[in-house]
Symmetry: C2
Subunit: 409 residues, 2 copies
Amino acid sequence: MAPVATANGNTHTPSIPETLKKVEVVKDQDVQADMDPSKLTIKLADKLKAIPEPETLVFGQVMTDHMLVMNFDAESGWSAPVIQPYQPLQLDPASSCFQYCTNVFEGMKAYVGPDGEPRLFRPELNMARLQTSVGRVALPPINPEALLVLLKKLVSIEKRWIPKLPGYSLYIRPTVIGTRAALGVAASTSSMLYVILCPTGPYFPSGVSGISLLAESESVRSWPGGTGGYKLGLNYAPCFAPQRIAAKLGYMQILWLLGEDRRITEAGAMNFFVVVKRDDGDLDVLTPPLDGTILPGITRASVLALCEAHSPATPLPGLSPDLKLHIHERTITMPEVVQLHQSGRLTEAFCVGTAVIVAGVSRIGFEGKEVKFSMGSDNQQYVTAALANRLEAIQEGRFEWQGWSVSCN
Amino acid sequence: MAPVATANGNTHTPSIPETLKKVEVVKDQDVQADMDPSKLTIKLADKLKAIPEPETLVFGQVMTDHMLVMNFDAESGWSAPVIQPYQPLQLDPASSCFQYCTNVFEGMKAYVGPDGEPRLFRPELNMARLQTSVGRVALPPINPEALLVLLKKLVSIEKRWIPKLPGYSLYIRPTVIGTRAALGVAASTSSMLYVILCPTGPYFPSGVSGISLLAESESVRSWPGGTGGYKLGLNYAPCFAPQRIAAKLGYMQILWLLGEDRRITEAGAMNFFVVVKRDDGDLDVLTPPLDGTILPGITRASVLALCEAHSPATPLPGLSPDLKLHIHERTITMPEVVQLHQSGRLTEAFCVGTAVIVAGVSRIGFEGKEVKFSMGSDNQQYVTAALANRLEAIQEGRFEWQGWSVSCN
């Protein structure tokens, strides 16, 4: 996808919703039932779980009391949605989800707003991306609007699970899996959609002052014509063995490189940014383009929009209103990062994603050397901090911005 | 992996078992129980299913009465194996197998030999490859020898399901899935191994005189540094949407290309071969090398070995004993295939795999044109037929060859 120039001279690849239109989805609404929130059945758990102390939470390990479930089959379409007690799935061992990995998911978060009500962050973008994901692995299409209605209902029911501490939230995991029970190598004509929830705190343990990354070019996470641009479960399993090696070498995540020019794609499962000082005193904010090898992250798109909006009228917190941030979605190679660092122009690097929100990078290991970033007190990480503060304020409903935070009521 | 020259001048990449040693597997046998066939429990079904007429079988849709199951967890290791009635799996919705696609499988076949006993084809190679696969997605290691003992036991119990018709067999699907019930993006520390079986006939419907392939370079199945060289479920889901487009255009499978030179990797989920006439009257048999972008197929390795063994002492059926077959594991580009075809030197193309065994290619669509092959009566597909006949005879125990066919008793 070729970058296009915007009015202010920034380079831009098309926004998420445009990117998402690429996959054809076919729906025969004459014979198949659509997702229908009006048919929702709610079966509440007889006994509710005790809610753990927020400080004891490890990401993704404690699930709430209830889950949303719907099934699709080619004859009847979508079944009536059910909110039911959290429980195991029962599936044929030949199912596509086990055999051929026809599995997709989304990551979202719910926050308690100042009014005490749960809020979601730009949830329509997650629903649109989920539609693209199911299309990429030839699963039956979903109904994004109907699913969002149901998801809000589930979050409202589980409201007591949302921790009230700053930086805490309820993580939401919509999942769609192929349920065709046959071994023939072909698309799954049936599927199960479910949504599960878990309370969560900061993704990385407290005391971590920045993410350490190991730049890796031998294992390749994604490539042109592959699936790196879609949120598919299958993009994750190949990363675990390399990640173990990185951890042994003392790095928290891998910075995935691609090709002979060693261009940067993603950091762990996060989008990657660098901040570069310009000769005119402004800052360039660089991130790899949506060329199909990286996830079209919703936090990524939001960070770009917030940088672009930084101005005397709507300044980011802690940044000089007169400082200009020039965003560029373009290829960044690891040798270029090294060279920018050596020249003293590379001031910050940070990672963004739903789980981590915005987190600064402390160092990058590359070919036996390290690119180190000054963190914290000396003000070097001030764009990172400004974006993290603003995004968290928007997500928690403390700062209203362009309707990004949506009430579940 | 660099090709090495063999004594007879053929180029060779290392054989499967050597390739498989690349992934490190760690096993703490002091604290974790190993797979132990002596602990096997057998719970037979109360009522056995009716066995369908072989002619009505569709690949992978009818499962036998029983399955083998074992579970691994980090504390206790492998549970005692159980052969139990075929039944649904019960799994937590947060399990790695659904979320991050930590799923691997193998494909094998059992045949009834002339002695009436079930036989497997080079099963130790499937077990070794399965070990490599679990390592690649950071699942706990298996015990290949123990698993083979258990698998033979399961096949013996299900012996009545093996169709007695030529070309029919019992398809065996060992599967390992990650069962860690947590959403943190990390390796699955627990897993479930199960083996399911289904009776099967010829993979493609009768009346098909050859496989039609659409050469595809926009969607890319695998990449250097990716996972194409491992038998992972996640290599399959991304192929289904492109496969649908190929089917709409009248092609049975996709011929996957890679890179600007449009080199051939795999055909559908099969390894690909071409046969080329030489100036000296001999034949070159070409197939892409094991460079990490294609599956190290067991049928592929067997076909190469059978071609190399073709000689006056051990001729392939229907081929002149004096004809020399020169095997070459080397890059083949689609433009080269077109050029060889135009020169009249390209005599055959065929696909190999466990399900299909050896099947001739009738045509390849590429950039709006077609490369067509003469099939059948005019003897053009005689290497393909010779290999198919010999392999099937070995697999069915009618022709003894280097211990490749192994009794389950």
